[in-house]
Symmetry: C2
Subunit: 257 residues, 2 copies
């Protein structure tokens, strides 16, 4: 019989928002020293993609030397079937991934950009950790949805994040109508995102379809040099249309009253 | 006729989450170097309370010397009538506060804790800035709502922040029922907060009232040494009740399926 082991802690480790963008920003622009120090101390990781996890750890190492060399880090990817399901909340059995935690190792959960388990598939790991009595500690870093909300000036006391809108034009139109009705009825801000190459099409649909007095915001490339946050009533966007949001830059959209 | 002045930029400057708590945490635990450097460079501020704004700037000064001494900082409070309205989204005329921006000064907007303009009254300033063509730049820092959401393991792809629940027992019961119905119907996580001294009463009401399979989370003292995130189905909380959330520690609650 082996002695009972105290389980490790699951750390939610945020990453910068420059993933897939043309520019890389200094980690110290968006991650507090304590987040970098915690990340450097860990040796076990759960991620969406091992290659980008290693690239991130290399950037951390340049600021805080890693406790174990990159080749010795234990990096486990989320099952591919899971993180390809995109928008849907997926309940899958993440318990096998908890093995290092149950053996007493602290583990870092990272996503491709920003805060893990928000608008990405890592939340099942966190849920399984709670069920197994494993402590979960979120570290501070950039969260594009909340930066966008704050910078929009729309109601930050009541808001809903809706994930992605449907891709088909008709379904999308219907969904935009629903979200606007909700914001007009309750005042609550409605946030959503889009795959970057469809940013321009979504923006145009919103400007065309929303009521003139509805406020429409978009926040592109947050924390990057090219960051831009716009928020005006739709009639202002119709009168003086801005350049469409760039096709390769993550953008958060919001509507409010 | 005076020459046209390029307006300044409105920076949303996050503050640590230790406001009003027993412990003060190092700013470097929760604020990236770039946020501290930006804050140190500013000389004009809009805040809820000048005293706590100065206390914050003193902490920043110890890490990054301020561009102007504390006594020379221009600090303007939001109108008291506004920030006493608590939960309601308030549309008031914030244009007079934009004067330094229109004169070309960069201005920092801060709240008592966390990200300004999220769950606090600063959003009218941001809205007025957009209407006046002033650039708005959000800086990275801690956001308790999102840290709580990520650490709960509940659905992070669809979620609603609902502000405060009603104070009266009957209205609160009714509201809890509505929020649970929403999460059971759509799967979306429902987040809300409470004045700390009512944390225990709200927790007990939730454990008593929610359905056994509904998952209930609470995240207390996030980013502090005493941080604790719990999330389990309600039947588990009934079988093994945890200590109630402490009465002086900010707590975010969430329910999900």
């Amino acid at each position: 019989m082996t002695a009972a082991t105290t389980p490790g802690t699951l750390y939610l480790v945020p990453t910068p928002l420059d993933f897939g963008c043309d520019e890389a920003i200094p980690l110290t622009d968006v991650l507090p020293q304590a987040t970098l120090a915690h990340a450097a101390r860990l040796t076990h990781w759960i991620c969406e993609n091992a290659k980008s996890c290693r690239a991130y750890l290399k950037r951390v190492d340049a600021l805080h030397p890693l406790a174990a060399p990159l080749q010795a880090q234990q990096i486990t990817e989320l099952p591919h079937a899971v993180h390809k399901q995109g928008d849907r909340a997926v309940h899958w059995d993440a318990r096998p991934l908890l093995a290092p935690l149950l053996q007493g190792h602290d583990v870092g959960l990272v996503s491709e950009a920003g805060m893990p388990a928000v608008a990405d598939p890592g939340s099942a790991v966190v849920r399984a950790a709670h069920d197994a009595g494993i402590a979960v500690v979120p570290l501070v870093g950039p969260v594009s949805i909340l930066l966008a909300l704050a910078a929009s000036g729309l109601d930050g006391q009541h808001f809903t994040f809706n994930g992605y809108l449907p891709q088909g034009a008709n379904e999308r139109e219907q969904r935009i109508r629903e979200l606007e009705a909700r914001t007009l009825r309750h005042g609550a801000t409605q946030l959503f995102i889009e795959t970057p190459y469809r940013n321009a099409a979504l923006w145009q649909a919103l400007v065309r379809q929303l009521q003139p007095a509805t406020r429409l915001a978009r926040a592109s490339g947050l924390t990057l040099a090219q960051a831009q946050v716009l928020c005006k009533p739709v009639h202002a966007w119709r009168t003086a249309p801005p350049a469409p949001p760039p096709p390769h830059v993550p953008t958060v959209f919001a509507i409010g009253s």
